[in-house]
C-alpha cells in the first residue's frame, strides 16, 4: 500500500497473497477491519501470456483444480481494438441531441441493422428523463448505409419519446439521398471528418436501466448505470464503471488497458470483474451484508475496498491532489 494517510491498524485491508504455487492464481483476501470473517475473497490474477500452457492437455497437470485453461489468456489489450464494437451513443450538445451511430470500422463486421436498432431503442429508453420534449435530433449515421425505411423507423422511435429528427449527417451518398427524399436536412462530410480519436475517452454514458442477462454495454468511456447489472449482463468500458445498484454480472473497466480505472457499485457481488488486463471473481458464497465498494488494481491484483475507505485508493488520492495543485 502506498497511501500515506493510512493508520497501520488498518493495514489488514491489504492483499494477502498466498504463496504463489506454480501456475496458481494469487489469492487476494480482503478483511474488513472489525469484521472477523473475511468478507470478500477474490482470487485474482493477471492475464499474463507467460502463464498460458502452450499445449493444453487435459491430463497433463496433477494440480488441475486451478483455473489456468480458462483464465490463461492473452491480454485483452492486444486484441481490444479489433473486436470491440462501440455502441450507439446519445449526446446533448447546444440544445441539440446527437444520435451517433458507430462507424463501420468501429464495429465488428457482423453488427447489422437489427443490432443497431436494438441499441437505439435501449439508449432512448435509458435516458428518457433528460431532454425537453421536441428537442431536435441530429442523426450521425457516419459511414453506415441507412435506407428510407430505416430512417422512418428511427424517426418514429424518436417521436415516441417526443423528439424530432431534423438533420442527418452522413459520409455516404446513398444515405444522404435517402434522408433528403424523406425530407430531412442532410449534411454530407468526408469519411474521416468525424472520426473520433481512438485514444481519447468518449463522454460518460449514463443509463437508467437494468442490464439483464445477455445484454452487453460497450462504451469507449465511463459508464454509469442507474440500476442493477444482473448475472449474465456485461459492461465493458474504456473508463470507470459506476453502478448505482447491484453489480452481479461482469464489469470490465479500463478495457483498453488502463489499470487506473475503477469499478464502483452499491452492492458488489459480481460474476467477474476485470480492470485492464486483470481479472477477479467473487467467492462461492455470497456475503450476508454488502456495502458500497470500489474495485481497483493494487500491486498487480484487483482489490475491493469499502467505499468509506475509498480515499485510500491511489487512483482517487492522486486525482484529489491534482485538483488541489490546480487551485493553489
Amino acid at each position: 500500500m502506498t497511501t500515506t494517510d493510512t493508520p497501520p491498524s488498518n493495514a489488514d485491508n491489504s492483499v494477502v497473497p498466498e504463496s504463489p504455487a506454480a501456475n496458481q492464481a494469487p489469492v487476494a483476501q480482503l478483511e474488513v477491519p472489525g469484521n472477523s470473517p473475511a468478507k470478500i475473497i477474490i482470487s485474482s490474477l493477471k492475464l499474463d501470456p507467460a502463464q498460458i500452457p502452450k499445449n493444453f492437455t487435459p491430463d497433463s497437470d496433477g494440480n488441475s483444480a486451478n483455473l489456468d485453461p480458462s483464465f490463461a489468456a492473452d491480454t485483452p489489450k492486444a486484441s481490444e481494438t479489433s473486436f470491440i464494437s462501440w455502441h450507439v451513443h446519445l449526446k446533448t450538445d447546444d440544445g441539440v441531441i446527437k444520435l451517433l451511430l458507430p462507424t463501420l470500422s468501429d464495429t465488428s463486421n457482423d453488427t447489422g441493422w437489427s443490432e443497431i436498432w436494438e441499441q437505439i431503442q435501449q439508449r432512448l429508453a435509458g435516458a428518457k428523463r433528460f431532454w425537453q420534449p421536441l428537442t431536435p435530433v441530429h442523426l450521425y449515421a457516419q459511414d453506415r448505409l441507412i435506407d428510407t425505411r430505416q430512417l422512418q423507423v428511427i424517426a418514429n422511435a424518436l417521436e415516441e419519446v417526443q423528439l424530432s429528427l431534423q438533420l442527418v449527417h452522413t459520409s455516404r451518398r446513398q444515405t444522404a439521398v435517402a434522408a433528403a427524399t424523406s425530407g430531412y436536412s442532410v449534411q454530407q462530410h468526408n469519411p474521416h471528418n468525424l472520426a473520433m480519436s481512438k485514444d481519447a475517452l468518449a463522454e460518460p454514458l449514463y443509463l437508467q436501466m437494468t442490464v439483464r442477462s445477455g445484454m452487453e454495454i460497450r462504451h469507449p468511456g465511463t459508464v454509469v448505470i442507474i440500476g442493477d447489472v444482473n448475472p449474465g449482463g456485461e459492461i465493458i468500458a474504456a473508463g470507470d464503471i459506476i453502478v448505482w445498484g447491484n453489480l452481479k454480472g461482469i464489469a470490465h473497466a479500463g478495457s483498453r488497458g488502463n489499470d487506473q480505472c475503477l469499478i464502483m457499485a452499491l452492492q458488489m457481488f459480481p460474476t467477474q470483474i476485470r480492470i485492464a488486463n486483470f481479472i477477479a471473481r467473487s467467492p462461492e458464497q455470497q456475503p450476508v451484508n454488502l456495502e458500497p465498494e470500489v474495485a481497483h488494481v493494487v500491486e498487480g491484483a484487483i482489490r475491493i475496498t469499502p467505499s468509506i475507505e475509498s480515499k485510500r485508493i491511489p487512483a482517487l488520492v492522486d486525482r484529489s491532489t491534482q485538483n488541489k495543485n490546480r487551485f493553489f
Binding site: I52, P53, N55, F56, T57, P58, D59, D61, S64, A65, N66, L67, D68, P69, S70, F71, A72, A73, D74, S79, S82, F83, S108, D110, E115, S213, G214, M215, E216, P231, G232, E234, T271, Q272, I279, R281, S282, E284
Partner: protein, 266 residues
C-alpha cells in the same frame, strides 16, 4: 476413439442440461476425459449447473472469431480434473455460429477427449442444427408427458434424417407412484411411441432443484439418491457395461404400513 454425443429433446425443461452436466461429471469420475459443449447459444445454462459461471472468460464465439485459442476458452471443472466445459456465449453474436463451426470445434476437441457431450438447445431450429452437426450419437431425453414425447418423436425423425445413430432414450422425471395409479405414462408407453433403445430411467428428484441452485451436480451429492444412481448407471451403459435397470416399483404395502393405515383410518 472419441465419442461425440448430443443430448437433445425437442421440448424445453425436460432436463437436457441437468442430464448433460451429471452425465459428464459421472463419466469423468469413471476416468474418461470429458468435454461438455454448451450449444445453447444465447441462453446458456450449463456453466450455472456446474457452478462454473464466474470462471468463464472466453466462449465459443471468441474462439470462432479468432480472439482466443480453443484451449483458452475451455473451463476446467473445479472439482473434477477430467471434465472441461466449452461455454456458449450469452449475447447476440451467437447468430454467427454455423454447423461447420461446430464441426470444426468438436473436431479440435476430439483429439484430446474420450467423450464430447453436446448440450442441445430446445427446439429444432438453427441452434438444434448446430448442436447435432458434429454429433455421432444421440441421447434423447424425454419426460413421460404427451407433449414431451411428441417433440422427442419429431427430434428422433430429424436425427435419423441426419444419420445420427445410435440414438438412445432417457426417460426423465418419472414418478413411479403416478405410473402405478395410471396417472402418468409408463416407460413402456413412451418406448412404444419412440421405438428407441432405452438407456436409462431417471426418477423425479426434488434435490435436483437444490443442486442446480448450488451449482453442484446431483451425482456429487453426499446423500445418495435414486436419480444419481440412475445417471451413474447410464454412464456405465454408455461405456458398454451391462447394468440392470433400477427397480423403481412402488414398494408393496407391508404388514406394518397396512397396520398404520388402518389406525389412521380410525
Amino acid at each position: 476413439m472419441v465419442r461425440v454425443i448430443v443430448i437433445t429433446s425437442g421440448k424445453g425443461g425436460v432436463g437436457k442440461t441437468t442430464v448433460t452436466a451429471n452425465l459428464g461429471m459421472t463419466l469423468a469420475r469413471l476416468g474418461a476425459k470429458v468435454a461438455l459443449v454448451d450449444a445453447d447459444f444465447g441462453l446458456r445454462n450449463l456453466d450455472l449447473l456446474l457452478g462454473l459461471e464466474n470462471r468463464v472468460v472466453y466462449t465459443a464465439v471468441e474462439v470462432l472469431a479468432g480472439e482466443c485459442r480453443l484451449d483458452q476458452a475451455l473451463v476446467r471443472d473445479k472439482r473434477q480434473p477430467n471434465l472441461v466445459l466449452l461455454p456458449a456465449t450469452q449475447n447476440r453474436k451467437a447468430e454467427m455460429i454455423t454447423p461447420n463451426h461446430m464441426k470444426w470445434m468438436v473436431g479440435e476437441l476430439s483429439h484430446q477427449f474420450d467423450f464430447v457431450l453436446i448440450d442441445s438447445p430446445a427446439g429444432i431450429e438453427m441452434g438444434f442444427k448446430n448442436a447435432i452437426a458434429a454429433a455421432q450419437e444421440a441421447l434423447v431425453v424425454t419426460t413421460p408427458e404427451i407433449s414431451a414425447v411428441r417433440d422427442a418423436d419429431r427430434v428422433v425423425g430429424l436425427l435419423e434424417a441426419n444419420n445420427i445413430r445410435p440414438a438412445h432414450l432417457i426417460v426423465n422425471r418419472l414418478r413411479p407412484a403416478m405410473v402405478e395409479a395410471n396417472d402418468m405414462m409408463s416407460v413402456a408407453d413412451v418406448g412404444e411411441i419412440l421405438a428407441l433403445p432405452l438407456i436409462g430411467i431417471i426418477p423425479e428428484e426434488e434435490r435436483v432443484i437444490t443442486s442446480t441452485n448450488r451449482g453442484e451436480p446431483l451425482v456429487l451429492d453426499t446423500t445418495k439418491t435414486l436419480a444419481a444412481e440412475a445417471i451413474n448407471n447410464i454412464a456405465r451403459r454408455i461405456q458398454g457395461e451391462k447394468v440392470d435397470f433400477l427397480n423403481l416399483d412402488v414398494p408393496k404395502e407391508g404388514l406394518f404400513t397396512r397396520f398404520r393405515r388402518l389406525i389412521s383410518l380410525k
